[in-house]
Symmetry: C2
Subunit: 498 residues, 2 copies
């Protein structure tokens, strides 16, 4: 009935058209990172700029604003699908119209070249190769922040892109609370890990065997390979090209199978969210993820709460031995201890659960300084290395292990990192609630049965799309908005108890 309201129908049609274009931009970008030959770069930058500009123009057209206004006048019933879509279209439209399409195009062109430069820079561990690109990316981010507008810090305007509603000041308070608590846990966690040799699991794990095992785990989680796939990239990611088309990537280390395993569990967590979004709402807010902080809760939940639990290795040890004979010499408990070994290390995506958020806090502080012009791009490596040593006690010997390790800045994504920590907090909060709601959960996890947990996440999170803002979504799922207490409890219990 309500769909018969013409302006709403127009919006639905426009949303579908935009989704065709932005899904295609997704494929162009996936291909850029997986299979594109290097000499295609300049043309690809043109393509990405063209389609991003096109999607932007389609959404910011004056008549789209008129349709939204008409829908607001129409006053759809509170709690209806239409009301949620209109609320989010208004927010997204207001934000998008503040940025000219030409700036969006320029941003995409610059970022495509910047990504290629970062890859080369990371490979050679030469910050100078990346520096001029980071400079441009930063300037464009500042320009966009100015377009979007902000009250306290331009960083707020960037954050809004990834975590609607959150502000730098809130994060600063949250991190001020987290940091000392983590440091306190870290001491006893490291002590307990001292008995586990760092290279305990090191061996020779063929890539083919890793792929087979990872796939089996992802399938058990419920990732649908008829509607997705896994490829290899420099930096792992999850990307959706369209409904029924969600692509994960990872990288392999033949010495250590756990890197790609937890990489895939992480990305498949994202993938389950994407595959669980209601396909019938694809392209509209109801078919979109709520925020990156919610997205990262899904990845971190599967990676850490499921994948690094004793129950996981109880179940998967015999299967893993089928792929990797050398694992036979370990007990499930030994493997669990090894994958939970706590010790400061250089690479964020491979960091243990305790030190992980310290990596995020470091990036947050540097990003804010960059955006607020308190730090020059040329000084990033020095600043990074100094802060890293203060925070984690390690001397960074090469930038590939330091400020060049992550892809985000090269893709123009400043303001993204804090969502990982929000994801950790949300994951712990969700997992606590799931255990309350599903009395058999522990037994099921020990049997490698993930159906009930997945369906719980489907109902509470995935199928909600953007029906509620992220804080409200968390409140409805767990009884409270994102807080640090639950995650800290989890860390203490797991790493510092007894």
């Amino acid at each position: 009935m309500t769909e018969a309201f013409r302006p709403y129908r127009k919006l639905l049609k426009r949303a579908r058209e935009i989704s065709l274009v932005s899904g295609t931009a997704g494929l162009l970008s996936w291909d850029h990172e997986t299979y594109m030959p290097p000499k295609a770069l300049a043309f690809r930058a043109g393509q990405l700029a063209h389609f991003s500009g096109q999607a932007h123009r389609l959404f910011t057209a004056k008549k789209v604003g008129d349709w939204i206004s008409a829908c607001e006048q129409h006053a759809f019933a509170a709690g209806s699908d239409e009301a949620a879509n209109v609320r989010e279209w208004r927010r997204l439209h207001d934000r998008a119209t503040r940025v000219p399409a030409r700036l969006v195009e320029k941003f995409l062109r610059v970022c495509t070249h910047s990504l290629a430069a970062w890859r080369a820079a990371r490979e050679r561990s030469e910050f100078n190769v990346f520096k001029p690109h980071l400079q441009k990316v930063l300037e464009l981010n500042r320009q966009m922040a100015d377009c979007w507008g902000y009250q306290e810090s331009p960083y707020d305007a960037l954050l809004e892109e990834y975590e609607p509603g959150i502000r730098a000041a809130q994060l600063r308070a949250l991190f001020a609370e987290l940091r000392p608590a983590i440091v306190a846990i870290l001491g006893s966690a490291m002590e307990r890990s001292a008995a586990v040799p760092e290279d305990l699991l090191n061996g020779n794990y063929s890539i083919a065997a890793q792929q087979a095992f990872n796939r089996q785990v992802a399938e058990a989680m419920g990732f649908d390979f008829e509607a997705g796939r896994i490829d290899t990239t420099t930096h792992p990611f999850c990307c959706t090209v369209g409904p029924g088309d969600c692509r994960l990537t990872t990288r392999y280390n033949e010495q250590n199978f756990t890197r790609s395993l937890y990489g895939i569990m992480h990305e498949a967590g994202h993938g389950l969210y994407e595959q669980g979004l209601p396909a019938e709402h694809y392209g509209t807010p109801l078919g979109m993820s709520a925020s990156l902080g919610i997205h990262e809760s899904q990845s971190r939940l599967w990676e850490n709460h499921v994948g690094r639990s004793p129950a996981f290795w109880e179940h998967w040890h015999p299967v893993a031995c089928g792929h990797f004979l050398e694992l036979k010499k370990f007990s499930p408990a030994q493997i669990t201890a090894a994958v939970n070994r706590v010790s400061p290390s250089f690479i964020r995506v491979e960091a243990d659960q305790v030190t992980y958020d310290l990596h995020i806090i470091l990036r947050f502080e540097i990003e804010v300084k960059l955006i607020e012009q308190q730090l020059a791009v040329a000084d990033v490596p020095a600043c990074w290395n100094e802060e890293f040593e203060k925070m984690l006690g390690l001397k960074v010997a090469k930038d590939a292990d330091g400020c060049l390790q992550d892809i985000h800045w090269s893709k123009g994504m400043l303001g993204y990192f804090p969502t990982y920590t929000l994801g950790n907090l949300n994951a712990s909060q969700l997992m606590r609630q799931a255990a309350l709601d599903l009395p058999a959960l522990e037994v099921e996890l020990a049997r490698g049965e993930y159906g009930a947990l997945r369906e719980w996440l489907r109902e509470k999170i995935h199928r909600q799309g953007l029906r509620h803002p992220p804080a409200e979504l968390m409140r409805r799922a767990t009884g409270e908005p994102t807080r640090s207490v639950c995650h800290l409890d989890f860390l203490r219990k797991k790493f510092a108890a007894g």
Copy 2:
């Protein structure tokens, strides 16, 4: 100077915009055949329809016609870049404007589903799975032929898409000349091949070794892997996504490495043409290939005249032995004899050089009958099998080896097949001329040096783009338009002499 003429500049700008869109459609289509997960099909069909419609609308806009008219009035100097572009834009624009964008979109949507159905049908060798799709594809081809218009046969209107200027009646005359001549050669060719066992080279060739050897050969031909790549598909093809981005595919048979080798030499022949087109004219007629008959001449030249020559195996035998130890037991001459064994067989792309064109004649006759409504889709397998046996003396036991073997119809391409035979004729004619122009050619080929031949093709064919219509291009390169005499001479000399 001339570029300062405003309508011409407008056309250049529009052409660049269209190339961004159609290059993207190229990637969507490549991905469909290589990596796309099956459940993405419906959305992908929507994407392909959307972008093909968009490219069509951009090119058929009224103002594009006005710009072309203004350029015609302007009368650019004969032989100038501008004159050639304007001539072809006029031809292409007149043709395109006869087809409504909605029909283009529908065609792409239908073909995307049809391709997926064909893959399933071929795998299971069940024509019925493909039948309803072929019916739709055929009807849409007929509709488009009616839009385009024709004088004698609707098939003429389809041919024009692949080989501008040629007509079914001309092909019929050509094939009437070729068929008995080929049959005459076939007798003695088979007699000479009788001494070579069919399975002489059969062995166990790992896919990794095949890939390594194929890549080495393609590199020696001059295919630029910084601007291209090779993937695996059901049906081999070559596709250009943009300047600096030309992608080949092949399939592997672990019993017989020559299938993928000659598949790659064929596709790399196409790839060299694409990579040799003048990048500065990308998106305009001067940057486009002249016709499919010219395109196939490049693939068949490298596959057959270079790859199946004694000189080829003189040079590559030791290299091949490095990849495939079991080839050590053969002499180069034995391998040459094996890859030139003449004997009727089921699969066109693997047919010997003598029987190859009989496969094409069969398809041509069936296509004409389908388009002219003298044959029902349901009767295709029976008609195919009957004609195949008449022509090649073999009973088709399953449709996967018969009418389901080729991808073309599933992608909507009726009228394409004859260009393979035109390609064969053109290849022989070009090779004869190259030998006259390059006195050291034979010596170089025996050394595996392909630079001079490639540069000759670059100058005579690749860099010409669509500067001349295909017949004129052949006349300029070889002194005469496409004729059968040279190819028949070549076949007689190679397969029936002495």
